[in-house]
C-alpha cells in the first residue's frame, strides 16, 4: 500500500513537472500576429551601440534607439524623419536640411541644428568603419535652430543614402563628453524604442521596449528583441518553434532546410555577389593582369553555372557585372557576358603572350572560400594554364591583404548597393578594394559626369561605365547570391533595398 502511494506521488510529480516544463517550451520569444514582441535573430554582432560604431548589417540595433536624419523606405526612396526637407544647390555642393521641430532626447535636450552638427562632426572624427562616408563634408553650418547646411568638397551622389544610414544616426550630444563613452552600452537617441538594460545581455540579446514619448508613428510591436547567434542551425530551429519571429538565412543548406516548411514565410533577395576582386590591374605583382585579355581569359575560364548549382544549390544568378539589379547602371545583358569557354580563354592568353599560363597566388579566408569553392576555382583556372596557389590567411591576419598589398586579387563576397555611387566609391575609385589605384581614360571621363548629374541623368553614363568595367574585365564576378528572409508565419517581412537585413520599420504582423 505504502509502495503504491509513493509510486502514485512520484508519477503525479513527474506529470506536473513535465507539464510545467513543456508549458515553458517556446516561452523564449512567441511573437507575431497579436503579439507585442518581435524577436529577430541575427548573425551580426554590433561593435557597440555608439552611432560612431554603426556599420552595415548591424544597423537595426541602432535604428531601434536612434532616428536617422532621412528614412530609407524599403524601395530605396527617402522620406522625412528627423529632417523634414532637403535640397541641394545647383552645383550639388551644398545640402540644406530642414529639421523636425519639437523632438527631444530622453533627458529633455532638444534635437536641433547644433545636435546635427555635433553628431556629424563626431562621426567623421571617430575611427568608425563608416566615418569615411562623411569625407566629402567640408563643414556643417548651423543656419538656425531648425536649419543646417552641409557644405561638400565635391558632389557626392550617395550623400542622402549616408544620411539615412550610419552617418545620419542622431544621439544626444550631452553624452559625447561623458567619460567612458556611455553610448557604447547605454544608447541615448530619439528612436522608437529604448534599450532595456536589465533584460539585455550585450553580445547575446538586446531587448528594447517602446519609447514612451516617441515623436513619430508607433511601430507595431511593444517590444523588440534582437538575438545574436553564431550559426544558422539554431536560428532555423528557433524559427520552427516560433521562438524567433524573423531572420535572414544566407547559407544554401539552411535555405534548403526551410524550403518545404509551409508554416514558415519566405522572401528571397539578392544582395551580395561573390567573385574575384582583381586589385593588381596595373600588373605591379602579376604583370599578366595588366593586359585586359588576360583578365577576360580569367572570366571565360570560370564555370559560373556549375559553381552556382553545386556550391549554392542554384540559389542565385550568374553574373559578369558588379552592379546589382537595383542599381541604375545594371544591364541585364551583361550578366551572361563571359560564357564558360576555356578554349577562348586559352586563345586570349596566347594573344597576350601567356600561352604557357602564369601563377596566381591568392589569399584564402576559409569562411569565404570553403574547400569546394577553392578546388573548383583551381580546376577551372588550371584548365587554361593558370596555376592558382591558395595561401590560407587567418581572419585576424587580413592586414597582409589590405595594408601590405601582398596579393594581386582576392575572392570576396561584396554587397551590390542600390545606390550606384556607393559601389563606385568602394570598388572603382582608389581605396581599399582598388588598393593600387588603377584607372583608365574612360573611367576618368565618366566619373565626374556621374558625380554631378541627377540620378536619372546619370543613368546613361552609369551604364556606359558598367559596360566598360565588364568589357575591360576589372573584376571576375561569379554570381549574385540569393538570401532568404524567413519568418515563423506570424510576421510579414519586407526586404530592404540596398541592404541585406531589413530595417526595423519593415516588420509587421501577418494578416
Amino acid at each position: 500500500m505504502k509502495k503504491s502511494t509513493r509510486a502514485v506521488t512520484l508519477a503525479a510529480f513527474c506529470v506536473t513537472a513535465a507539464a510545467a516544463l513543456t508549458g515553458c517550451a517556446g516561452s523564449g520569444g512567441k511573437g507575431g500576429a497579436g503579439s507585442t514582441t518581435l524577436t529577430i535573430a541575427t548573425m551580426t554582432l554590433p561593435q557597440s551601440l555608439d552611432p560612431a560604431d554603426a556599420n552595415g548589417s548591424a544597423l537595426p540595433f541602432f535604428q531601434a534607439v536612434y532616428d536617422t536624419l532621412l528614412k530609407r523606405e524599403p524601395d530605396g526612396s527617402y522620406s522625412p524623419m528627423l529632417a523634414t526637407e532637403w535640397k541641394y544647390d545647383d552645383d550639388r555642393t551644398e545640402l540644406r536640411l530642414t529639421l523636425r521641430d519639437g523632438v527631444t532626447f530622453d533627458d529633455g535636450t532638444p534635437f536641433d541644428a547644433a545636435a546635427v552638427k555635433a553628431n556629424m562632426e563626431r562621426f567623421g572624427k571617430k575611427a568608425g568603419a563608416q566615418a569615411k562616408t562623411l569625407k566629402d563634408v567640408k563643414s556643417i553650418e548651423v543656419v538656425d535652430r531648425t536649419h543646417v547646411t552641409l557644405k561638400l568638397s565635391q558632389p557626392n551622389p550617395a550623400m542622402l543614402y549616408f544620411l539615412s544610414d550610419a552617418a545620419g544616426l542622431m544621439a544626444n550630444p550631452k553624452a559625447f563628453d561623458k567619460p567612458g563613452d556611455p553610448l557604447k552600452t547605454r544608447p541615448d537617441g530619439t528612436g522608437p524604442y529604448e534599450l532595456d538594460s536589465a533584460k539585455s545581455a550585450i553580445g547575446t540579446r538586446w531587448v528594447y521596449t517602446r519609447a514612451r514619448n516617441y515623436w513619430g508613428t508607433r511601430l507595431p510591436y511593444e517590444n523588440l528583441t534582437i538575438s545574436y547567434f553564431n550559426n544558422e542551425t539554431a536560428i532555423v530551429n528557433g524559427l520552427r518553434t516560433g521562438q524567433i519571429n524573423a531572420a535572414l538565412l544566407q547559407a544554401a543548406d539552411q535555405q534548403a532546410a526551410v524550403e518545404n516548411d509551409r508554416k514558415l514565410s519566405k522572401a528571397e533577395q539578392e544582395f551580395d555577389f561573390q567573385g574575384i576582386v582583381l586589385f593588381d590591374r596595373g600588373g605591379a605583382l602579376v604583370p599578366a593582369l595588366r593586359d585586359p585579355r588576360v583578365r577576360q581569359a580569367l572570366n571565360h575560364a570560370i564555370d559560373r553555372r556549375t559553381m552556382l548549382d553545386k556550391l549554392r544549390q542554384g540559389r542565385g544568378e550568374v553574373t559578369s557585372q558588379i552592379f546589382g539589379t537595383q542599381a541604375a547602371g545594371y544591364l541585364k545583358e551583361l550578366d551572361p557576358h563571359y560564357a564558360h569557354d576555356p578554349a577562348k580563354a586559352r586563345e586570349l592568353l596566347r594573344q597576350a603572350g601567356y600561352a604557357s599560363g602564369f601563377t596566381l597566388r591568392l589569399p584564402r579566408v576559409t569562411a569565404i572560400v570553403p574547400d569546394a569553392l577553392a578546388s573548383s576555382l583551381q580546376t577551372d583556372l588550371n584548365a587554361i594554364g593558370v596555376k592558382l596557389a591558395w595561401e590560407n590567411v587567418d581572419a585576424g591576419a587580413i592586414r597582409k591583404i589590405f595594408t601590405d598589398r601582398a596579393y594581386p586579387a582576392m575572392v570576396m563576397n561584396l554587397g551590390q548597393h542600390a545606390v550606384d555611387w556607393i559601389g563606385i566609391n568602394d570598388y572603382v575609385l582608389p581605396g581599399v578594394f582598388n588598393m593600387f589605384g588603377t584607372t583608365d581614360d574612360t573611367v576618368r571621363e565618366l566619373l565626374p559626369r556621374i558625380q554631378r548629374a541627377e540620378g536619372a541623368q546619370a543613368k546613361e553614363d552609369l551604364r556606359k561605365l558598367n559596360r566598360h568595367l565588364v568589357e575591360q574585365a576589372w573584376f571576375v564576378p561569379f554570381y549574385r547570391m540569393s538570401y532568404l528572409h524567413v519568418s515563423d508565419g506570424t510576421v510579414r517581412v519586407t526586404p530592404q533595398s540596398g541592404m541585406a537585413v531589413p530595417s526595423i520599420y519593415n516588420y509587421a504582423p501577418a494578416k
Binding site: 513537472a17 510545467a20 523564449g28 568603419a129 518553434t241 521562438q243 587580413i398 592586414r399 570576396m412 581599399v432
Partner: protein, 313 residues
C-alpha cells in the same frame, strides 16, 4: 589538510600567471590586425591604424601584457574591443548558463552512472552486457549528431521543450529547467557512457577483494557491504573520471551552446576568439584555469573524505 589546500592554491596561482603570459603572447602574434577585424575590410587603412592606436596595440607586447596584468590583479579585465561591454559583466552574464549546463550534466552523470555501473557490476550477466553495449553506443555516437537528433525530436517535432534560448534560474525555475533539459541530456549521453564503465569496473574490482569475501563470510547484509564498503572504495576512480569529465565539458558546451543558441561562455569563446578580442579571451582563459584548479582540488578533497586511505596517498 590546510597545508595541502594552501599548496594547491599557490600552485594554481602560479599556473594562472604562466597560462596568462603564454596566452597573451600567443594572442598577440604580429599578423593579427584587430583594427581591421573591428572595422571591416572596407575601412580605410588610416582609420584602421587609428583604431589600433586607440586600443593600445601600437605598444610592444610585453608592455601590453604588463598593463593587462596590472589591471587584472585588481579584478579589472577591461572592456571588449568589439562590443564595448565590460568584460567582467559580460562573463558574469554568461557564466551561469555554462555552469548550469556543467553542473546539470555532472549531477545527471553521477546519478545515472552510479546506478548503471553498480547494477552492471553487481548483477553481471545480461545486465552487465547491456550496460556495456549502451556504454559503447553512447561513446561512439558523435556528440553533435546526438544533440541535433534530440533537438529535432523533442523541440521541433514534439514541441516539449524550447529549441533555443535560456531562461535564468532567478527568472523562472520551471523556465530554467525547460531550457536546460535538452542541452543537459545531449551532453550527458557520452558522459554517462564513460563514467558508468568506470564505476562498473571499480565495483567489480572491489567485489573481488579478500576483505569483501570476509565481510560476506561474516554474514553482513549485501546492501551494507555495497554501500558501506564497496562504493566507498570504488568512489576514487569514478570521482576522478567525473572531475575530468566536468573540466572536459567546457569543450562539449561549445557545440551544445551553439546548437541550442545558449548565451554561455562556450559560444562566447568561439565568437570572441575568432575575432581576436584579447580582453575577453584572456578573462575566459582565467575563468577556465580557475575552474580546472577548483574542480581538481574539490575532487581530491572529496576522494580523501570518502576514502581515508587516499588522504595519505
Amino acid at each position: 589538510m590546510v597545508s595541502f589546500v594552501v599548496r594547491r592554491v599557490a600552485a594554481g596561482a602560479v599556473l594562472l600567471f604562466v597560462v596568462s603570459a603564454l596566452s597573451y603572447l600567443l594572442l598577440s602574434v604580429p599578423d593579427t590586425d584587430v583594427g581591421r577585424q573591428i572595422l571591416g575590410s572596407g575601412a580605410p587603412t588610416e582609420t584602421v591604424a587609428a583604431k589600433n592606436r586607440e586600443l593600445g596595440l601600437d605598444r610592444p607586447v610585453p608592455v601590453q601584457y604588463a598593463d593587462w596584468l596590472a589591471h587584472a590583479v585588481r579584478g579589472d579585465f577591461g572592456t571588449s574591443w568589439f562590443t564595448g561591454e565590460n568584460v567582467v559583466r559580460a562573463i558574469a552574464t554568461r557564466l551561469p548558463v555554462t555552469v548550469s549546463l556543467m553542473v546539470g550534466v555532472t549531477l545527471v552523470t553521477a546519478v545515472l552512472s552510479l546506478l548503471l555501473g553498480v547494477w552492471a557490476g553487481v548483477r553481471r550477466g545480461a545486465a552487465d552486457r547491456l550496460v556495456q553495449v549502451l556504454g559503447v553506443l553512447g561513446y561512439a555516437l558523435p556528440g553533435f549528431l546526438v544533440t541535433l537528433v534530440i533537438v529535432v525530436v523533442f523541440a521541433v517535432r514534439l514541441g516539449w521543450f524550447p529549441a533555443i534560448g535560456y531562461i535564468g534560474l532567478t527568472e523562472s525555475v520551471p523556465g530554467w529547467l525547460s531550457t536546460i533539459t535538452l542541452p543537459v541530456a545531449s551532453l550527458s549521453v557520452a558522459a554517462v557512457a564513460g563514467v558508468s564503465q568506470q564505476v562498473r569496473g571499480a565495483v567489480i574490482d572491489v567485489l573481488r577483494q579478500d576483505y569483501v569475501r570476509t565481510l560476506r563470510a561474516r554474514g553482513l547484509p549485501p546492501s551494507r557491504i555495497l554501500f558501506r564498503h564497496v562504493l566507498r572504495n570504488a568512489s576514487a576512480p569514478a570521482l576522478t573520471v567525473l572531475g575530468m569529465q566536468f573540466v572536459g565539458l567546457l569543450g562539449g558546451a561549445v557545440i551544445v551552446e551553439q546548437i541550442f543558441g545558449l548565451p554561455g561562455i562556450g559560444a562566447m569563446t568561439v565568437t570572441y576568439t575568432t575575432r581576436g578580442d584579447i580582453p575577453v579571451i584572456m578573462a575566459l582563459v582565467m575563468v577556465a584555469v580557475v575552474g580546472v584548479v577548483a574542480v581538481n582540488l574539490a575532487v581530491d578533497l572529496l576522494v580523501g573524505w570518502l576514502n581515508p586511505k587516499a588522504r595519505t596517498a
